[in-house]
Structure formats: structure tokens, C-alpha cells
Symmetry: C2
Subunit: 342 residues, 2 copies
DNA sequence: CGTATTAGCTAATACGTATCATCATATGCC
DNA sequence: GGCATATGATGATACGTATTAGCTAATACG
């Protein structure tokens, strides 16, 4: 009890392996460490590998990180992980990060402020950060100084980013509804200044204007990007006098569309008979609803995957110049059950 | 270009602070490091704090972790983060972990095997792991050897854990449906050997048996714990000859219930008129559906929070004995729109 | 006044790995 | 055989922090 022997519960280190294999710690590091092109004879290599196996050696990434000044971890921050869209983005990041040997520290911002979260990530020496859904708000802070950053759906001069064709998304929704003969249209979108969402609205409005269709402000609803936000928006739209009441509504976020649909169904308004609804994102929920939601698919996973590739390339190229963003990812209209002719 | 001066972009270290404050590195560590009860004069403390502020010093958690043999990070593994229930569990963990100064590395298992993920967590020197929804499968592996572990909804002799009253959940669902006069009942649940879900089934079956109501195997459906699983299950139940067709169904997972509901609605089967449906979990989705889902609320966040507290107490008590699990968390029937009399 | 105690600070070391300069040995070539 | 070179392994050092033993100066005590 008082004396504590060499604790076998303590994980084996390169020193332990070296001792057992009869070589130096440096040699062990060369054999088991990163670069496989180290000059080590096949014989000693074999001895080291065997000893490592026998001791159950696992490299300590913390120690490695300290000396290499690299943690092989990246952070990703989104506004709300409970929105499946953002979860998909993170999943996309995770997939390519895992392949490249990077861990991902996902950050929701519901619980803790972006600034604090960024500080935590920095303290843990993440090699870079992917930011999705933050307006100029968080970006102008010096909180990002000295960090490698990739933005999602947020154009910037300072940092590279990836984006989806948000304007196109709004446009597609508008054209679809116009094509069905709707002229009294409504829009429900988040009040936030998230750039991507603003662009969806802009695309929608632009297409309407080009078609000579008006979007009066009483049919514009700015609500939180949640189901209850959509619920409130549609309730209020349904309360308009018949002459102003829309026959179709574009919701810039699927969750909002889900709320809008629910408002209609509980109010006895037939969908798509009396009200057509178009969402945007194409989250899994869209196919769970009845009727299934017509929406614009935004390739969330691909968005995340590209962001991760962009960041990791930047990291592996050892301070190489930040690569420029590619073209916006195309979006696609997916017609399902919530839209129909007037 | 060739010569590289002291790079001011490199974050300040305790040495830098020490130099600027005119004290030793050790003193800086005493002032800024963990324990605030270090004996340092107010004067030097002030000098150090100011110097740190001027240099924008941030402690390097990697280095600290190396010497303290503690990373202040915990891992949490769930089967599927896209299931909001598990996301809620993780959120609960995150909340209390953040308070205690721990970071959380959430792990989905859809992309990478549990074993690989555990290895990654171990390599990053996490201080402990919270495991949810893994059967005996992953547990009997030696992959957990030497790790501090807390289980969620999975009883074990070896590791402490927290649990919800899964048997009670099944029971509540049964009693509710029996109370409405249903006697031809069905069950749809995951085929997996996840213990918590099995117990939900057991509670349901037990309560039926006590009421003298049979649950013949043709009204038992084992499907993946997803929406499409529920869809398939209900489709197949609706295909039964009228004499065998159930008038109500308990789905052990809300997602399955959502699929079941959709199957009914698209088949023109009135809910709750011709079919009552009870889910389990009470995820947000339950209130998005129309009609809203009657379900049994399982306190996911609280489950995660307790698991985190259990783990962190274990960690802070410096190898203290693993605390025993408390009582199962109570569950609660939430009657909404998918159940009604026969 | 001499000694014991304490407060306040520092030098040295450790954590586990990567990496570089160095050294010993083997091989090539004329 | 003698020299240049390539190969294979090692010792030493660094990464940024925590921590302990120990040192100095000041204070307490008899």
C-alpha cells in the first residue's frame, strides 16, 4: 500500500517499448511514429513492433501534439446541433476528418457563447476551426486571430469558405410555386442575419420580382428558425383577410416549414389544397411528415465534407496559402406532397 | 524570409509571461495555474496577471494535460446522433461537463466502429467515457480496460451507470392503451439487443399479461430503430387480416412511432380513430407530427447530466471508488393526439 | 542575540513524444 | 588498403506546463 510499484495499469510508453526491444526510445519513435520512411532496418523494426504489441502500446497523442505543435483536431461550430441540417454538416466534416486522421470537436452554441467556445477550442490547440451559420457578429471579433478558419455559407475576404447556392434555392422555390399558378405568395424565414438564409430570401424575392409578382410586407414573416417559429408564422398568415391570405409559402428552413405545415393541418387548412408549402434543406424530417414536404435540397454533408477538405489541405500544406473557395454547391428542388396547383 | 525572428504569432507561454513580469516561470504557473491557494504575494501576483493580460496569454491545455496526466476531456458514445434522443443525452452531458471544466468529445458510431472510436478517445487521453446504447457487444471487449466508464441504460457489475425506468415506460404505455379499451395490441421495437429498449418491451408485455391480454407473435415487429423501420412495421401490421389486425401499437422508440403514424396516414387509416399509437422518448419530433404523438417521456438530458456527474465525481475524487448508480429516473406518460378509445 | 519558523520565490525535473546532430559501422570505389 | 559515402542507431534536446525540494530573507520566540 505505501510503496507503489511500477504500475502496470499505467499505459506503456515509448520508453517501455524501447527497454523491452533493447533499443533506444528514439528508435521506437522512428518506427512507430508518423513517417514510415524512416531509415530503420527490417530487423529492429520487427523487434520494436513486436515489443509494442506485447505491451499494448498506444501512442499518446497529447505528448505528440505538444512536441509537434499540432493536435490533429479541428473544431466545428454551428448554431444548433438539434437542427438536423447542422448535424449533417458536422457529419460531413467528421467523415473526411476521420479519414485524414483528425478528430472533430463539435460545438453547439445553445449552451455556451461562441466566444467562450472558441477560447476552449484554442486552449485545446485545435489546428483549425470550421464555422457555420455565424453572421458577421462573431467574425469581427479578434477571437479568431491566428486561427485557421473555414467558413460555411458565409462569404469573407479574410477566410476561405464553402457555400451552397442559396440564391438558387430561393429561386427554385419561387419558380416552382409560380409554375403551379400561385401569385399570392408568402415568405417565412429566420430573423437572424445568417448570410446563407438571407440569400435564400433574396433569391426568392428576386424571382418573384422578375415574374412581376409582388411580395407585400404583410406576407413576410421573420421568426426563429424552429418549428414553433414556423407554427407562429403560419398561424399569423392564416389570420390575414382572405384577399391578402397567401395560397403558398416558402419557408427558408425545413423546420420552419414543418411548423407551418402543422399550423395548417391543425387549423383544418388542406395542404396542398388550400396552402402549398416549400421548405429548404431537405432534412430527414421532410420525408417523415405527412404529406411529405416539398423542399429544396441543400447538400449539407457535402458542404461539411468540402469545408473539412479545405481546412485540412490548408493544415497539411504547412501554412500554405489559404485555398480559394470553389463554386457554390448546386441545390435541387425536390417535389413531394405539400405543393400543388392553386 | 530566410531568418525567422521570434514569431509574434506564436502564442505566449508561461516563460514569456515570466520574462515580462520579471519572475520565474514557476511563479507564473503558481499564479495562473490551477490552485489559487498558492503562496504568492499580492504584489507579484498582480505583476504576473498584468503581464499575462498584456501578452494575451492562454494556458496550453495540451501541455498541462501532459504533466498532470489529465486531459479534462471526456468521451461520450451513442449509436446514432441523428436520433434526437441521443443528442439530448449528449447535451445533458455537455452541460454539466462544461460547468466542471471538462470538454466533451461526442462520438457517433454510424461512421466508425465503436472499437476504433474508443481507441481514438484513449489516444487522446480522455479521462473517462460515457457509453449509451451499447449492448454487451462492445462491453465485453477489453477495449475498455483501464478506462473510467459510466453506462447509460445498461446495467453492469463492472461499471456504474444511470438508467431510466424502461420497464415502467412499457408498463405506462400498456396501461394507457388498456385503459382506452384496446385489446388487440401490437408492439414495434428495435431488433437490437440494447438493454434499455428490451426493458421497454418487457414492461409492455408484462403489463399486458397481468391484464390477461395476449400479444401474439404476429403482432410483434422487430425493426431498425428508425422512421423507415416504423413505416415498414406498421405497413405490415396493416396487412394482417382484420380479425388479427391491432387497434393500437406501442413503439419502443419515437422515431419508429413516427414511421408508424406515417404509414397509417398514407394508407388512409385514421389516427387515433382506427389505430392508436404510443411512442417512447418524447423527442421534439413528437410535437411536430400531426396529430401530436402520445408518448412516454424519458428524461434524456437528465440522464446525460447524471451520467456526467457520476463520471466527473469519480474523476475528481482521484481514483475514488466507483459510486453506485442511483434509482432509475422516472418516466411519464404524455397523452397527446395519437391515442383514443377503440 | 541566536535559533526556529515561515513566507515568498526559484531551480530543477518530469510528463511522453519527435527530431536533429552525431557517431559507429558497413559498403562502395579506385 | 585507403578514403568517401551510405546506413542504422542513439543521445540530447525541445515542446509548455506543474510540482517539489530547497533557498533566501524576514519574522517570531526564548
Amino acid at each position: 500500500m505505501p510503496t507503489r510499484r511500477a504500475d502496470s495499469a499505467r499505459p506503456a510508453t515509448t520508453h517501455d517499448v524501447a527497454r523491452r526491444a533493447g533499443v533506444s526510445q528514439a528508435t521506437v519513435s522512428l518506427v512507430l511514429g508518423g513517417n514510415p520512411r524512416a531509415r530503420v532496418s527490417a530487423q529492429t523494426r520487427e523487434r520494436v513492433v513486436r515489443a509494442a504489441g506485447e505491451l499494448g502500446y498506444r501512442p499518446n497523442l497529447v505528448a505528440r501534439g505538444l512536441v509537434q505543435r499540432k493536435s490533429y483536431a479541428i473544431g466545428v461550430m454551428v448554431p444548433d446541433l438539434s437542427n438536423p441540417f447542422f448535424l449533417d454538416v458536422v457529419t460531413g466534416v467528421q467523415r473526411v476528418a476521420a479519414e485524414a486522421g483528425y478528430a472533430v470537436l463539435p460545438g453547439d452554441v445553445r449552451e455556451v457563447s461562441p466566444q467562450r467556445h472558441l477560447e476552449a477550442l484554442r486552449a485545446r490547440q485545435v489546428d483549425g476551426v470550421i464555422l457555420d451559420g455565424f453572421g458577421a457578429l462573431a467574425l469581427h471579433e479578434g477571437a479568431l486571430s491566428g486561427m485557421k478558419v473555414v467558413l460555411v455559407d458565409e462569404p469573407s475576404e479574410r477566410w476561405p469558405g464553402v457555400a451552397s447556392d442559396a440564391v438558387g434555392a430561393g429561386r427554385l422555390a419561387a419558380e416552382h410555386l409560380l409554375g403551379l399558378g400561385h401569385t399570392r405568395l408568402a415568405f417565412a424565414g429566420p430573423a437572424s442575419d445568417v448570410h446563407g438564409l438571407r440569400m435564400r430570401e433574396r433569391g426568392f424575392v428576386q424571382a418573384l420580382r422578375q415574374a412581376g409578382v409582388a411580395l407585400p410586407s404583410e406576407r413576410l414573416r421573420r421568426v426563429p428558425p424552429t418549428v414553433s417559429g414556423g407554427l407562429a408564422a403560419m398561424k399569423s398568415l392564416l389570420g390575414l383577410p382572405p384577399a391578402q391570405r397567401p395560397t403558398a409559402c416558402f419557408c427558408a428552413v425545413d423546420l420552419v416549414a414543418a411548423g407551418a405545415l402543422k399550423a395548417c393541418l391543425t387549423a383544418g387548412v388542406a395542404v396542398p389544397g388550400a396552402m402549398s408549402i416549400v421548405g429548404c434543406d431537405d432534412v430527414e424530417l421532410a420525408r417523415v411528415l405527412t404529406p411529405e414536404l416539398t423542399t429544396v435540397r441543400v447538400p449539407a454533408r457535402e458542404l461539411g465534407a468540402r469545408a473539412a477538405r479545405l481546412l485540412i489541405r490548408q493544415l497539411d500544406d504547412e501554412g500554405g496559402s489559404a485555398p480559394r473557395a470553389g463554386r457554390p454547391l448546386p441545390v435541387k428542388l425536390v417535389v413531394r406532397g405539400t405543393t400543388g396547383p392553386v
